[in-house]
Symmetry: C2
Subunit: 180 residues, 2 copies
């Protein structure tokens, strides 16, 4: 494989921010419920850009663009991905319900669907991710339609939140992405 | 769903670090080739813990435990997951080849297998992830058996490296994790 050259950034032929805005998106909205780390917020923007997500709802103490710390990991994805700020996460959920979205909390709970068993059929869905320490708050879980849990086999309680967003989006959307 | 209680950390019944060491792992080794961000390194440890990965090889300028910045995101996973430091990434690859591992670079390259099309059958594999800006260096790619590329549809060139590790591990191992 000595001639397998890396693709230059120019040759990746990525779309522009204005093309992104006009592109057909996955009908998926990410809700961040009190995510404290601005690095995590920026990283979620970058992942949402890569997987053509409809929007990110930033709620409560979650930081919002423009912000230098968010940009360190977003690297400009705040210019392509739509976002809305809600002071109360409850209001974000009510707004999504009114628009007909099915709402999943990504958490560890008594009744849950394991991520391995989740299938996505292009319906309108929202995925709620919570604070680094407290997770998605119980009153918010009570408002959600279902809980998705990522199976984890090791010693720690949970994955980093930006990693969780990547893993869940890949499970749902990876199979839908056309590759040659 | 008003009675769907979150699972307390105690009720998650996670294994201890010594139980982790004795557990049967996935035959998967993660190689970090010059990863600059200590937050990324810590986050990779946490993901490797969650998915019972055999070891992490930290190469070149990649930071190593014990390190306060790594711990901020590893949250103790440096105590469970095995790691080895190699000054030269080439030496890590040679060591893996000698042990019979199939080696995949996770990169963007002319010849690649799209992540959607990768299947894992419990063979010994190593996954090489590169520097935040430069990716996996071309001489290292030349030593690998194959390149895996994560399809990305948006404006940016790549995902955050700790997110990439999560997404690739989930694609390979998610289906292998038994859930009830």
């Amino acid at each position: 494989m000595s001639k397998n050259h890396k693709t230059s950034n120019a040759n990746l032929n990525r779309i522009s921010a204005s093309e992104f805005k006009k592109s057909e998106k996955f009908n998926t909205i990410i809700v961040l419920d009190g995510v404290r780390s601005l690095h995590n917020v920026g990283s979620v923007f970058r992942t949402a850009d890569a997987f053509l997500i409809e929007a990110i709802y930033l709620c409560g103490l979650t930081g919002t663009p423009p912000n230098k710390e968010i940009e360190k990991t977003a690297l400009g994805a705040t210019n392509s991905v739509e976002w809305v700020y809600f002071k109360k996460t409850e209001d974000a959920i009510i707004s999504l319900k009114n628009k007909g979205y099915k709402i999943y909390a990504v958490e560890q709970a008594e009744q849950k669907t394991w991520l391995n068993n989740v299938n996505y059929n292009n319906e309108n869905i929202a995925l709620v991710f919570g604070n680094e320490v407290y997770g998605v708050e119980q009153p918010i879980i009570n408002m959600c339609n279902e809980v998705i849990e990522i199976p984890q086999l090791g010693t720690k309680h949970s994955l980093n939140i930006s990693v969780s967003v990547g893993v869940v989006l890949w499970q749902l959307l990876g199979k839908k992405i056309n590759v040659e």
